[in-house]
């Protein structure tokens, strides 16, 4: 091992500065800025983040590049999809067509929008409801905490896939019902995690300091507890998005999720998988590719965030 000389930067005497710099605030780095610096040094997460941005761009601007709309049927390929429906640049079917002769590119764009939306809405509900619920339960503690957390326990003990399927069967298969179903379950784990963190945070001296200086419960929760929770919430939320996408895809794969003419990655994969034997492999590979890339990217970003925000690292 080569020992390098340690360079010590001379500490400027803080009281011996000229009048100009005495009053102008010096630059400083918040914990968030520190975490961002660590995150951007971690190459897999940065690559994943770029991929995610590209998928999102694809989902929301893809329609401008599509030659066909997602509901148009290309009558020239209908009936001869395995021979004529393959991906090609001349016909304008960049990703080929599905078994009904619809443009798969436009369909994947539409499916990406829905799948990403389900993931983000589900995680969003989890972040907002779960954080507030968990922080309130953990902060007040005692009986309120017991009641609130037992409620979570009860909801968690119900097999949610069963409830979700029942909801969709009883109230009809609609995308709003799917959002409601996913929203109902997504925040439960989050509230548990947040509560646990709050329990340890509220023992910290700065919470007591805030109480001693007369801050109300509301101020303490939203100024002192929640900002210190956001790191873990951010990590968990990025891991929750792919989980939500998976849930939705599973439901759609079963045929209970989004209904025609809407579609999602799960629904497209289901269609592609059922036609593979006719030699239309592209119908499976394109939606599956987007699905896998997105899930992996979310997991890598979540991982990178966890490393960047880990307090043990500081």
């Amino acid at each position: 091992m080569v020992l390098r000389p340690i360079r010590v930067e001379a500490q400027a005497d803080p009281t011996n500065v000229d009048d100009q710099s005495y009053l102008t605030a010096t630059k400083s780095r918040s914990l968030w800025a520190d975490a961002a610096r660590r995150f951007f040094r971690h190459i897999p997460s940065v690559v994943s983040l770029v991929l995610l941005v590209l998928v999102a761009l694809f989902a929301f601007t893809g329609n401008f590049f599509a030659v066909w709309t997602n509901s148009e049927v290309d009558w020239s390929v209908l009936g001869r999809v395995p021979e004529l429906g393959a991906p090609s640049l001349e016909s304008g079917h960049y990703f080929g067509t599905d078994d009904l002769g619809r443009d798969l590119f436009a369909r994947v764009v539409q499916g990406s929008q829905i799948s990403l939306m389900v993931g983000i809405v589900g995680a969003g509900i989890a972040v907002i409801v779960g954080t507030v619920y968990g922080a309130v339960a953990g902060y007040f503690g005692g009986r309120l905490d017991s009641v609130m957390m037992r409620l979570v326990d009860i909801l968690l003990s119900i097999p949610y896939m069963f409830v979700l399927i029942l909801l969709l069967v009883v109230f009809g298969r609609s995308i709003s019902m799917l959002f409601i179903g996913i929203g109902l379950i997504s925040w439960l784990d989050m509230s548990r995690i947040v509560r646990g963190q709050t329990l340890s945070l509220k023992q910290k001296e700065f919470i007591e300091a805030a109480r001693a200086s007369g801050a109300g419960h509301f101020t303490i929760i939203f100024r002192h507890i929640v900002p210190n929770l956001l790191g873990i919430v951010a990590v968990y939320a990025t891991l929750l998005v792919p989980q939500m996408i998976l849930t939705e895809s599973f439901i759609s794969f079963l045929g209970l999720g989004v209904q025609e003419p809407l579609t999602s990655w799960g629904a497209l994969i289901a269609q592609g998988a059922s036609n593979v034997m006719y030699g239309t492999l592209w119908q499976l590979l394109f939606p599956l590719g987007f699905f896998i890339v997105t899930l992996f990217s979310f997991y890598f970003v979540g991982d990178g965030l966890r490393d960047a925000l880990d307090p043990k690292d500081r």
Binding site: T15, Y22, A210, S213
Partner: protein, 288 residues
């Protein structure tokens, strides 16, 4: 000192905790952390509270200002019992009584800048103060405690322990309180920084006329800053009196032990103290 300038009267204050006795149906035992403590605090005075770890110093200080609920007794602030105040009266009280904590870094929110930490009590108690005025007052206060105003946007982890404690002091002083409870305010700092912080506290006390309730386990530190010393042992007051008298002529054996346990940087003196410690131990053994 006259009766009028007594600002805080503590009478027979007790704090009991229920601790689980173990087992599923064991019920709980009562831990008496503070037992029947009474004392007066005068305006502008510093009262030191000393005792070993776990003797109830911190519990007492928090019970006095009702950060934890006392089990009995009174804590009368300016003629009004704190323990019977309603929540709006308590908020008013928090303006007059501030606190400085043991761990300088842990007592500052890591996600807030030094400026917003210091400004927070002002924001709570004087919401009418404009943002510009608030920043001005924070900068003034930072100068008073020996920080430079250009540090206003820095975060706690960018400061040293001593500087963090100065932020804590600035936060405690910004509302111009009448009493500051210093809970082991210098124990976590190294000796040279301890001296700086104590001198700062004494200077600020002279300037603002604030009373201090100074809690420490080190009687040498307390002697330097406090006019009177109260010695606590297992939640009970064993001795209270003028600092010099308590230190030079302690009346209770526990106080003598406490004084003898202070290390001195002089081998001969240390030998003498060791002798005292030994004698006290022999006497205690003989008495038992």
């Amino acid at each position: 000192m006259s009766e009028q300038d007594v600002i805080l009267q503590v009478r027979n204050l007790s704090v009991h905790f229920n601790v689980p006795a173990g087992g599923l149906f064991g019920g709980h035992k009562v831990l008496k952390a503070v037992k029947n403590v009474s004392f007066d605090l005068h305006a502008g005075e510093t009262l030191g509270i000393v005792g070993e770890s776990g003797c109830g110093k911190s519990t007492l200080s928090r019970a006095i200002i009702r950060l934890i609920e006392a089990s009995g007794g009174e804590s009368v602030w300016m003629g009004k019992d704190i323990l019977k105040m309603n929540s709006s009266e308590l908020v008013g009280l928090r303006k007059d009584i501030q606190m400085i904590f043991q761990d300088p870094l842990a007592s500052l929110n890591p996600r807030m800048t030094a400026g917003s930490i210091i400004a927070e009590p002002l924001q709570i108690h004087n919401p009418e103060v404009t943002k510009a005025e608030r920043t001005k007052r924070v900068a003034e206060m930072m100068e008073k405690v020996g920080l430079t105003p250009n540090m206003i946007n820095k975060y706690p982890h960018e400061f040293s322990g001593g500087q963090c404690q100065r932020i804590g002091i600035a936060r405690a002083l910004i509302t111009r309180p009448k009493l500051i409870v210093c809970d082991e305010a210098v124990s976590a700092l190294d000796v040279s920084v301890q001296a700086q912080v104590i001198n700062l506290l004494m200077d600020l006390q002279k300037e603002f006329g604030v009373s201090l309730l100074f809690i420490a386990h080190d009687i040498a530190v307390v002697r330097h800053i406090a006019q009177r010393i109260m010695v606590l042992y297992f939640g009970e007051v064993v001795e209270i009196g003028e600092s010099e008298q308590v230190v030079m002529a302690p009346s209770h054996d526990y106080t003598k032990k406490l004084i003898a346990s202070v290390p001195v940087p002089d081998p001969k003196e240390e030998m003498k103290r060791r002798e005292v410690r030994r004698r006290l131990r022999r006497e205690a053994a003989a008495a038992a």
